[in-house]
Symmetry: C2
Subunit: 158 residues, 2 copies
């Protein structure tokens, strides 16, 4: 179990898609601009999200990405798992091979904790995340601000 800024990037980007779910595709360029994340870095993250079936990419003009499932069916855990965090749970499994087999039982402890955190994150869907407070409105306002600053309007927003 691992949780760092990388996961945050992925989750915030997915929230962007969740907000526009049903309104067509959102381009990575837009997300990049709106959230200050490098475009190519986003591409790398979305490659994984796509391979894990969380999003689908649409090529060509008017294309972009959209959720392949409704936001009620995508959890934060899904996102974090997809980008490759939360694989190596034991300290021994990787490089320092568990010497005796019995030695590594404190790690099993940790695995329990990791499991519980995972369950916790499974319970938080993109949808439920957005529904807290007036967050949705706030994010939309951000994007309006952006649209005013830059000549470039997001196509999917009327």
């Amino acid at each position: 179990m691992r949780l760092s800024t990388k996961g945050r990037y992925a989750v915030t980007a997915m929230l962007d898609l969740a907000i526009h779910h049903g309104e067509g595709a959102v381009t990575l360029a837009d997300i990049s601009e709106a959230q200050g994340i490098s475009l190519s870095y986003l591409e790398q993250l979305f490659a994984r999200l796509r391979k894990n079936g969380l999003v689908e990419g649409i090529r060509g003009p008017g294309g972009g990405y959209q959720l392949s499932r409704p936001p009620t069916e995508i959890s934060v855990a899904h996102v974090i798992d997809a980008i490759g965090e939360g694989v190596d749970v034991t300290l021994c499994g990787g490089k320092t091979d568990c010497q005796e087999g019995e030695r590594c039982l404190t790690h099993e402890l940790w695995q329990q904790l990791g499991g519980r955190i995972h369950e916790f994150l499974e319970g938080i869907t993109l949808d439920s995340f957005l529904k807290r407070k007036n967050v949705n409105a706030v994010v939309r306002r951000q994007q309006n601000d952006l649209a005013v600053e830059t000549p470039r309007l997001r196509k999917t927003v009327a």
Copy 2:
């Protein structure tokens, strides 16, 4: 909020102290040997744990570290906070300074999630962690195995 192997090291080491709470001090050398963590690395971690008042160090022969509070009053969150994980919650606060002040509101979202995970970890004490299943017995058995392998017995164990 960040959760990685570093925190795991600290938590497992603290569990070791929790097991021997009330039985005297445990040396870092013992923890290092038992769990395969570099001694100097442990020293760095414990420097932070000590500065945050979670443990106290006792110098000289027969010395070592012990919890400064009972295991029922130390949470996993305490440990993780102490070693410096979970400080930089916002993406903007650090280097990429938040451009407009309004722009960074998706991060506030994430802060909510980080907060909830933190609350969750606050609810897990070292004590409750050990009481799950027969874990305590297992860890003790590990240490017996160790004692048999190496001529060096842990002093604090009768």
